[in-house]
């Protein structure tokens, strides 16, 4: 009987190792690929090696650039962060100058998470404003539901339809969407890309907050400042393979290593049940001093795991999601709320209006991205009173007419 059980386990182990080779291969890109499967396999055996090889996501030049951009004072109106820009190289849009209300065509990656939903609501309120002022006649939107194929078809549909005056594209993924964006550019209509990028500079403007490395730097520096070498940090990550999320972790992991803070990472799918189990297991194993998150969704469950285990609450970085900000206030923990500026959802339509007005716009429109600190926590909580837990504090729609009811009721168009 024992032999059979042992054999079953052996079969499982062999199959597991076989799977290692399969699962890592497709995700590995660039140099160093050949060594990766071997190292991950070894890690499974010895269970001591660091997890996910994040080197493939780490880009020193981009890291340095974002590191510097964090301390640049942005140009533009101080009370309108969604119109500010950092280190911008302005380009002329005179050739697109034209009068009358224009039709915008929006190829959206998805509205499958609270961050995108909040932004989508804000974008539609901005649309109403521009319709009133006569800049935009209508916006036709196609939702790719997180699928590259669908989004390519969506963009081609817009091109073939031939009725779009401006293309607004929020790419589902970087490499796969590049050819479709290039086809849109060839129509000689202005193309605006925001959030995730593409590998071509043909769009008139590419709008995004500073980026994932800046997030990783802000958060890891905060934890490093408040913890000591040898302290344990649990890193809660949503899912692997998404560049904006991987870059956050790549930067943080680098800084943790440099400071000697011991960080272990998990994928949670943003499910609070998973998060709570993970933290409970870690607390059962030993002391946890810090929590790092690549997105704040589910942050409350992490804090509750400490409460239920009767352990001292951690130093923590979450996001500007209200559930986290409220729990932060209630518990008085040492925390930081990094942002992936949600107000960027306002900028593309405003950029379209600028382009048709013939105003210069930044070629790369880098929006400010400054974390919420304990100093301004209260003001953000007050400003967002009555908003649902999944709302993002830096949504930037306070001066739009639907504020605050539209966001409070979370009416998704």
């Amino acid at each position: 009987m024992r032999r059979k059980a042992v054999m079953t386990l052996a079969v499982g182990a062999v199959a597991a190792l076989a799977l290692v080779g399969c699962t890592t291969d497709p995700t590995v890109t660039g140099p160093g690929a050949s060594t990766t499967p071997a190292t991950t396999g070894a890690a499974a055996e010895s269970s001591t090696a660091p997890s996910t090889p994040s080197t493939e996501w780490f880009d020193q030049a981009v890291y340095d650039e974002q590191f510097a951009q964090r301390s640049v004072t942005p140009e533009g109106p101080a009370d309108k962060p969604y119109l500010q820009h950092i280190n911008a190289e302005m380009v002329s849009t005179a050739k697109y100058k034209s009068t009358g209300a224009k039709k915008a065509c929006f190829a959206n990656a998805s509205i499958s998470n609270p961050w995108r939903q909040t932004g989508w609501i804000t974008m539609n309120e901005q649309l109403k404003e521009l319709q009133k002022s006569g800049a935009i006649s209508e916006m036709e939107t196609r939702d790719a539901k997180d699928s590259d194929d669908t989004q390519i078809a969506d963009i081609d549909y817009f091109i073939n339809e031939g009725e779009c005056d401006v293309f607004i594209i929020s790419p589902n993924s970087t490499a796969a969407m590049t050819p479709a964006v290039e086809r849109a550019c060839k129509t000689d209509k202005p193309v605006i890309v925001f959030d995730r990028g593409v590998q071509t500079d043909c769009p008139v403007t590419f709008i995004h907050p500073i980026g994932g490395f800046a997030w990783g730097i802000d958060t890891a520096e905060f934890l490093n400042d408040n913890l000591q070498s040898g302290d344990k940090v649990v890193a809660l990550r949503i899912l692997p393979g998404v560049d904006v999320l991987e870059q956050r972790w790549a930067a943080a992991e680098k800084l943790f290593k440099e400071s000697g803070v011991e960080a272990v990472d998990y994928f949670t799918g943003a499910d609070p049940v998973e998060i709570k189990k993970i933290i409970s297991d870690e607390l059962a194993k030993g002391e946890v001093k810090g929590i790092w998150m690549d997105a704040g969704d589910g942050a409350v469950a992490a804090i509750e795991a400490f409460e239920d285990a009767g352990k001292a609450l951690p130093v923590m970085t979450g996001e500007d999601e209200l559930s986290f900000l409220r729990k932060w206030k209630d518990t008085g923990i040492t925390a930081l709320g990094p942002v992936y500026s949600n107000f960027q959802w306002r900028t593309p339509l405003l950029a379209a209006a600028d382009i048709f007005a013939g105003k210069d716009v930044p070629k790369e429109w880098v929006l400010p991205q400054s974390p919420i600190t304990s100093a301004d926590l209260d003001s953000y909580l007050t400003a967002n009173d009555g908003m649902p837990d999944g709302h993002y504090a830096k949504f930037g729609g306070e001066d739009l007419p639907g504020y605050p009811q539209i966001w409070q009721k979370r009416v998704i168009p």
Binding site: T23, A44, S47, Q117, K276, A301
Partner: protein
């Protein structure tokens, strides 16, 4: 000798797997075996164990329930949005949740039995409908957690208990559900469910109201999902992700417990043990510091290996050397997708 045989049979293999996983976890982290830690482990398995028990009744009766996860999500969001911070609303909302649970089960069951739509399709549709309803209602983000007193059920427990420190309420709820389930399997209803999974035609000839028995299994399953949702909203809080994938976890747990897909054979306690084994596996991967990218893969492989073992001829089939050949000549009964599956059992 008999014990060894039972342990090696599909019915018993899950207990062997569970014991092996628990020992492995304890070796890596000895504190896991402390009573206080162990009871916390049972607390967090409780919601999964409860849905596994519900799914057991549906599967052993020859059907599937894929709508459990979405129903949990719906119940969690209902609790968060309707109870809110008002403790006075706990009981009316709780009643509403139970009514919704029964309703979902009835609709699933009646569509399967009266309209003869395969349960796979019916409950898949229900899963999407419930998920879509939640999305529409909440705009993807629930208002917030319900009042803390309501959440105590999943989060808290009786404090000051000797040895284990705290006896979580969810452990008590799970014990009650298990007791009810064992009692049910021993009633004539329970036997009819198994007979239905084995040979629906014979059951109908025997004069049983098979449509009502099958419908009842869906109601049981929906009620366990509701109970699980109540515990989960306490344990983790409100989030549209809570409950997602639970239908597959429940099915995996049941199959791991040696219950035959297609119905007709299985033990409810083993199904629950399957849920414990799955969670123990998850814990083992956490404790062993397996790289995060590898976890799902290893989990999948171990599950496949275990299920393959349960289904292999090494296990039970040898003992039940020559099961009476199922009536292969009997005409289809309107549920072909399910019927062929148990021909080999």
């Amino acid at each position: 000798m008999n014990v060894i045989r039972t342990l090696l049979s599909p019915r018993g293999a899950v207990f062997l797997l569970l014991a092996g996983l628990l020992i492995a976890v304890t070796v890596i982290s000895p504190s896991f075996a402390e009573p206080g830690q162990l009871i916390r482990f049972i607390q967090r398995v409780a919601p999964i164990a409860i849905v596994a028990i519900g799914q057991y009744f549906v599967i052993v009766g020859g059907e599937f329930d894929l709508s459990m996860g979405s129903l949990i999500t719906a119940q969690v969001v209902i609790a968060g949005n309707l109870i809110g911070q008002d403790a006075g609303r706990i009981f009316p909302v709780l009643a509403l949740m139970l009514v919704l649970g029964v309703l979902v089960g009835l609709v699933n069951g009646l569509l399967v039995t009266l309209l003869k739509v395969p349960s796979f399709i019916v409950t898949l549709g229900m899963m999407l409908a419930l998920l879509g309803g939640v999305m529409y209602w909440t705009g993807g983000a629930a208002t917030g957690n319900p009042v803390d007193s309501f959440r105590q059920l999943g989060r808290g427990g009786i404090r000051g208990v000797p040895v284990i420190e705290i006896l979580p309420y969810s452990v008590l709820v799970m014990a009650a559900v298990l007791a009810a389930a064992i009692w049910l399997t021993r009633t004539s209803f329970g036997r009819t469910v198994i007979a239905l999974g084995d040979n629906p035609r014979a059951v109908r000839y025997a004069g049983a109201r098979s449509w009502w028995v099958t419908t009842s299994t869906f109601v049981i399953s929906a009620l366990t999902a509701t109970i699980s949702g109540i515990l989960l909203v306490g344990y983790a809080g409100v989030h549209p992700k809570v409950g997602q994938g639970y239908e597959f976890i429940a099915i995996t747990a049941v199959v791991l417990g040696g219950v035959v897909l297609g119905g007709g054979r299985g033990w409810v306690v083993a199904a629950m043990a399957g849920a414990f084994a799955l969670e123990a596996l998850f814990t083992l991967l956490n404790f062993a510091e397996v790289p995060s990218t590898l976890r799902d893969g290893i989990q999948g492989v171990i599950i496949i290996a275990a299920v393959a073992y349960s289904a292999s001829p090494l296990g039970g089939a040898k003992r039940k050397a020559a099961p009476p050949a199922p009536p292969q000549t009997s005409p289809p009964d309107g549920k072909e997708p399910v019927a062929p599956a148990h021909l080999g059992s």
